[in-house]
């Protein structure tokens, strides 16, 4: 079943002198439970593509349908709620809320969603334990290593039960040990909860784990390969 259907997606940046086609007509679908890497060199348009997919950057033309909803037809207010309820984000620089503990960070989106306290507490504990950092629930991000922070970020993204998780270069700031640990955990979560993961990356280790690799260059899909792993 397709979770995401993307058709003829185009993004043109107009600067005063030149017109840049960051994404130039991408059509692609993602199925439930995928573990996909979107790869390509810097400036290939993969982050722009992910931002449009994640409801953060409005495309110049084309459509993004997530779970049957035409994302870019939503009003900006509805779009925020849509993101909150359907998309989990993991960023390159972790982007945790520094004044909240690991547990509170994981709880945060569930809180925005208005989930009851009991559910939030239980799920926070479950997610952090699943990510192997159950003992750091009361630590603030500054007290955690990069790898631990990114695990909190993944736990936060998963806790809100999204349709899929978008991870933009999640391993770029991590050492190889943390990277392989994180990838292992994400792969485990992907299988356990059947949550779709989409990565933008140029990290070979991520590509090695991915079951599908979409290569983008000059805003177009160059190749789309699937692997059995």
């Amino acid at each position: 079943m397709n979770v995401i259907e993307i058709k003829d997606l185009v993004k043109i940046y107009n600067s005063s002198e030149v017109q840049v086609k960051a994404v130039n007509g991408i059509t692609v679908n993602f199925e439930e439970g995928e573990f996909t890497a979107v790869v390509g060199p810097s400036g290939s348009g993969k982050t722009t593509f992910l931002n449009m997919l994640g409801g953060l950057d409005r495309p110049t033309s084309g459509s993004v349908r997530i779970g049957g909803t035409e994302v870019w037809d939503l009003s900006s207010r509805k779009l925020i709620d849509f993101r909150m309820n359907n998309i989990g984000f993991v960023f390159q620089s972790y982007n945790l809320i520094p004044v909240l503990t690991a547990g509170e960070n994981v709880e945060f989106i569930m809180h925005l969603q208005g989930r009851p306290k009991k559910e939030r507490t239980e799920r926070t504990k479950e997610m952090l334990e699943a990510m192997g950092i159950g003992d750091r629930i009361k630590s603030r991000p500054a007290k955690l290593s990069g790898g631990q922070q990114q695990r909190v970020a993944v736990a936060r993204a998963l806790a809100s039960k999204p349709e899929f998780i978008l991870a933009d270069e999640p391993t770029a700031n991590l050492d190889s040990h943390s990277t392989s640990e994180l990838l292992e955990l994400m792969s485990k979560m992907n299988k356990k909860y059947n949550t779709t993961f989409i990565f933008a990356t140029h990290d070979q280790r991520v590509m090695d784990k991915a079951r599908r690799i979409i290569t983008i260059e000059d805003g177009k899909i160059l190749s789309d390969e699937k692997f059995k792993r």
Partner: protein, 405 residues
């Protein structure tokens, strides 16, 4: 959770927040302390005017206050006064004969207002008897004693036991004079009053002016607490129907305006302080929002809507202002509490103050409602200070903000 985030956000940059909190606290402390001082000054002035000059209520025949006509007396004043003394919470009622007259010493003369009083009754209404600085209150002189103010004594160049001639017109418009001797000299700390008000015994003045027995131009009433003023006033009005019954607020409207004006000035003063602080808070909140552009972008991306972003900035600004405000209020209130019993000493400038009828020692006074209102003003300042920074925060585009490294 928003509240918790906002509160913790304040302490991310401790030095910066403490600087602004300290300046707010200082400003509010200055406001509260000045308010307590001015309020104390005004209240003392009013209390003094009530105690020495006005009393809480006065009864006159209609028109007496306008024309001061010697013939406008209340024939049944003595009985009326005893009836009023029986009202609960009334601590004294003194009937007075009031007459404009001329007082002359061997050297010079001056126009004064004479009050013919019963010293015992009068001492329960006003406190002139406590303010005798030389001689005694109607004691030491057997015949025709007079109590005069210090300023008048200086002007007439008289001492205790000096002779004075009082000249007045009786009811039949005859000019009559009487010889009096100074028994005591008082000071009310209000030079204008001291120079123009003298006291003689009711009986002496009655005899001199040939007024009938038991009459008076004025009944001054003292009560135990200003809180009871209205209830007592209505009882008095019932007993003294047909006469003009006025409380101190109507007798001396300027005193009433004094408190109102003082309150108004204090609010203006505090608003000016807050206005100055406002820009500091705006500056801090702008820095906060600019620094956290990426974080705000992330919050928007993961589902924090504009209302919540706005509330977060707003709460942070309010909490920041309120922390400083509360600290300032606590210090200000503590200062005021301390100075309620240990007055602020202005004796170095006493002469100028006393000329105006103010005391040289000021006991502060602070109303809780003032503190509540200051707190509300601080919150409003926090809200206003947050508006522009919050607007800036909302202008963030999550995709752009997240690109910031």
């Amino acid at each position: 959770m928003l509240l918790s985030i906002s509160w913790r956000n304040i302490w991310r940059n401790k030095v910066r927040s403490l600087v602004i909190i300290f300046s707010i606290a200082l400003g509010i402390f200055a406001g509260v302390a000045a308010t307590a001082f001015m309020k104390g000054l005004a209240e003392q002035r009013i209390q003094k005017v009530i105690n020495t000059e006005l009393s809480y209520m006065q009864i006159h025949k209609n028109g007496f206050r306008q024309n001061s006509d010697f013939k406008s007396y209340m024939p049944d004043a003595q009985n009326l006064a005893s009836e009023i003394r029986a009202i609960p919470n009334v601590t004294g009622a003194s009937q007075r004969i009031i007459v404009q007259s001329m007082i002359a010493s061997a050297e010079t003369a001056s126009g004064v207002l004479i009050a013919g009083i019963d010293p015992e009754l009068e001492s329960k209404v006003t406190n002139i008897h406590d303010r005798i600085i030389e001689g005694a209150y109607f004691e030491g002189i057997k015949k025709n004693p007079v109590v005069i103010g210090k300023k008048l004594a200086e002007k007439l160049n008289v001492k205790v036991k000096s002779k004075l001639v009082i000249t007045l017109q009786d009811t039949a418009n005859n000019v009559i004079s009487g010889l009096f001797r100074v028994s005591g000299i008082y000071t009310s700390n209000n030079n204008v009053y001291d120079e123009s008000h003298i006291f003689v015994r009711y009986d002496d003045l009655l005899r001199l002016s040939a007024l009938p027995e038991g009459v008076a131009h004025e009944i001054a009433i003292n009560i135990n607490d200003n809180e009871n003023l209205q209830t007592i006033e209505s009882s008095v009005k019932e007993i003294a129907s047909g006469y003009e019954v006025l409380d101190w607020k109507s007798l001396s409207p300027e005193m009433n305006y004094l408190t109102e004006a003082m309150d108004l000035y204090m609010y203006i003063f505090i608003i000016i302080i807050l206005l100055a602080l406002l820009f500091g808070i705006i500056n801090t909140m702008l820095m906060v929002v600019m620094e956290r552009t990426k974080e705000i972008g992330m919050l928007m991306a993961v589902g924090m809507n504009k209302i919540r972003i706005f509330s977060m900035v707003l709460l942070e600004s309010i909490l920041l202002s309120l922390t400083g405000g509360v600290v300032g209020i606590i210090i200000g209130a503590a200062f005021s509490k301390w100075r309620e019993t240990k007055p602020i000493d202005l004796s170095a400038w006493a002469q100028g103050y006393e000329q105006l009828g103010y005391d040289a020692y000021v006991y502060t006074s602070l109303e809780p409602v003032m503190l509540v209102n200051i707190t509300i003003l601080v919150i409003i300042t926090g809200v206003i200070a947050a508006l522009y920074p919050a607007y800036k925060a909302l202008k963030n585009d999550p995709a752009d903000a997240l690109r910031i490294e």
